[in-house]
Amino acid sequence: MNDRPALELRGIRKAFPGIVAVDGVDLTLQPGEIHALVGENGAGKSTLAAIAFGELQPDEGSVAANGTVGLVHQHFELVGRLRVWENVLLGREPRRGWRIDAEAARARVLDVAQRNGLEIDPDAIVETLPVGVQQRVELLRELDREPSVLLLDEPTAALAPSEIEAFFATIVRLAQRGTAIMIVTHKLQEVIAYSSTVTVMRHGKITATMPTARTSIDAIAQAMVGGEVPALAAREERPRTPVLRVRDLRCGQDERRIDGISLYVASGEIVGIAGVEGNGQSTLADCISGMTNFDGSVEIEHGDRPKMGVIPQDRHREGLVMGWSIVDNVILGRQEALRRGALLDRDRARVEAALIEERFDVRAANLDVAVRTLSGGNQQKIVVGRALIDQPALILAYNPTRGIDVGAAALVQSRLIEARNGGAAVLLISFELDELLTVADRIVVMYRGRIVGAFDRTHFDRTHFDRTAIGRLMAGSQ
């Protein structure tokens, strides 16, 4: 190892129309260090990572890398229908004449895997592999290029706790051999556990850089938000009557399979579904919201309230018509409520949109702008506001705070708690255990399409013990 930094960013500035995403950032990565880059959504960390990787050109400043730079994407950029070796060696295929030398390719993948202590079947079709193994494929693709700098963008977002441990074991080993690692993340516990240095970004600038050993989760969180994290609405207790009853639900196949799920949610409580992505949560949500056929029964006791408000998983694809105005999006899914004969009551929709804008603090020039032009947080506020506005008996929320900033997330969570206080039954599916521990009254854990455990707030509110237990169940161990 020489003394030259593995990666040196000097005076980086990058502006997009109307916003300065990165504003005068200096950052140095030394060989063998694990550097965590944290910040809220929109703080500029992904832009900075893209510049470091060379995907984006900075407007000002310089990037100097001593060797190649690799990037592991948050949403793996893999080809599901191709084999592992085809994915790993895409673009650098070993050849024999005009053809790909498949034998050499297999050997090379196995070799890279072995050297990094990763187990892999080079001939497996990627889409059939569990998420954790898919990430291994993505990692192998980068490692094959022997990078001196490895950037990891939210690498553990889709992993179970045990997979996370194994993943970081690999990363630590890489660092020990001299690779400079930069992890972009919002999971502060991982930052504390595995990084050597932490840099906090806010509004495109670096607000703090400190050795991890001399800081704490609270200190980092405060630097991220630039003050106190907004408080959530208080919970109020009220009598509970059953609203949602699910009995012995069976549906779907493979990753989407659910296999005999029974649960209930009462009015005035939030039931959280904990689990790693791909354990049947989507299918459960689809069954309850009537989007698919299933065996078993789903009963909803809704009295004189409307039956259900749904916050779908993917707001862009499933929740909004991106080219339409806020008013027209507030109508979506509520056509019957707004129907006047054959006509649509757009005047009422406009009043409701204004109400949502106010209650959810939606930042938009006016109610007629296309939702495509709004930030992710504001889009999500519209989706949530629309689901709550008719005061439904059941609220089905699927990762309602994914990809939005801390302030917007706190607001969404508060509104869910208020709906619960007002007598709604809330089923909250989330991949973030922390969110469930903060918001839910009860937590049930899903693993491979079954419910493998249930926890009550009276326990997990006070003890750290349940957190570990839930994490273990999510990973499939008892």
Binding site: P312, E318, V321, E336, L343
Partner: protein, 340 residues
């Protein structure tokens, strides 16, 4: 939304003028001479204006049908066949009808709608039931329609006195009233304008219009909002075909007064350009249809007196479609810049 979108049709008109000039130069004609021929041929007198409006009307029906399907996210490129079958239904029935005149006309138009509706509905059913690509199926159905129509009017439906492949003439009682005396322009044009107004209202004010366009813009979000997409699919393609079919029936009852396999020189295809140039807005489509009507009727005159091939128009239609498609890309970029 923004200036580029709002002035799309004007932009297209400008493009047409530039491209036509180019085509005239290639054909060794001065653009002034060419355009004079074109405009005199299309608008030079009541007769010429009448023919232009006849073409406008013939383009407007299929363009409105296409607009409805496209707004629902369905690429119906089978308007030609739907129009032909609508005309066939009207022509076959009209030749044998014996009920009072006005009622008879209504019956013929309804039959046109039914014929076109069936033809569009087949593609809709195939899409809803088997997820069969509607682009391919509607185009295949054009050829099937042509073959079926030809076989029928060469055989069982052939008029007793007809020399070519056509039905017998309709009794004058079943002819649509003429709008401009001594021209072929019939009241069909008014019907087309009424349908355009209704469509505009349906898109803007009704629940059905909302659900239709939601299904077209964001199918998954629409499905999750409780809209039955496969039902919408076959309804949209059936209605789309029905509107084109009425167009076919108006050609039969309004101008030809019989069914003839040559009755459409590709109106159903040109109508795709009309619908796109009109930005899929029914009222703009009326304007676009008039513009293309000028090209259709003036094109013949231009070919005759200025030796510029009429097919220039089809090249230009294609280029307009390409450029308009690219304009959308430019427009979204502008929108993004404005938003950020």
């Amino acid at each position: 939304m923004n200036a580029l979108n709002r002035f799309g049709p004007l932009f297209a008109a400008l493009l047409v003028i530039v491209l036509m000039s180019l085509a005239m130069v290639v054909a060794r004609t001065s653009p002034i001479e060419g355009f004079t021929a074109l405009l005199t041929g299309a608008l030079g007198g009541p007769n010429q204006l009448g023919e232009t409006l006849v073409a406008t009307s013939a383009l407007l029906f299929p363009a409105l049908g296409i607009c409805l399907a496209f707004r629902a996210g369905l690429f119906n490129i089978g308007a030609e066949g739907q129009l032909l079958i609508g005309a066939l239904f009207a022509g076959a029935a009209g030749a044998q009808l014996s009920i009072p005149g006005p009622l008879g006309i209504v019956v013929l138009l309804v039959l046109g709608a039914i014929g076109g509706g069936i033809w569009g509905g087949i593609a809709g059913w195939m899409k809803a039931r088997f997820d069969a690509n509607e682009i391919i199926s509607t185009l295949m159905l054009n050829f099937v329609a042509a073959a079926v129509a030809l076989a029928l009017v060469s055989g069982p439906l052939k008029g007793p006195l007809a020399t070519g492949a056509e039905t017998a003439w309709l009794a004058p009682a079943y002819w649509l009233p003429i709008l401009i005396p001594h021209t072929r322009l019939s009241a069909g044009l008014l019907l087309a304008l009424v349908i355009a107004a209704i469509l505009q209202w349906v898109f803007r004010a009704t629940v059905f219009g909302y659900e239709l366009t939601a299904g077209g813009e964001a199918p998954e979000a629409a499905r999750r909002s409780g809209i039955n997409i496969s039902r919408l699919t076959w309804i949209a393609l059936t209605l789309s075909g029905a509107i084109a079919g009425i167009g076919g029936a108006t050609i039969v009852t309004g101008e030809l007064h019989r069914f003839n396999t040559q009755l459409s020189p590709g109106y159903g295809f040109t109508a795709i350009a009309v619908a796109l140039v009109g930005d899929l807005q029914p009222l703009w489509i009326c304007v676009a249809a008039f513009g293309f009507g000028i090209l259709e009727s003036g094109g013949l005159a231009m070919q005759a007196s200025a030796q510029v091939p009429k097919d220039t128009i089809h090249i230009i239609e294609g280029l307009i479609i390409l450029v308009l498609a690219a304009r959308r890309y430019v427009a979204t970029r502008v929108e993004k810049v404005q938003a950020a």
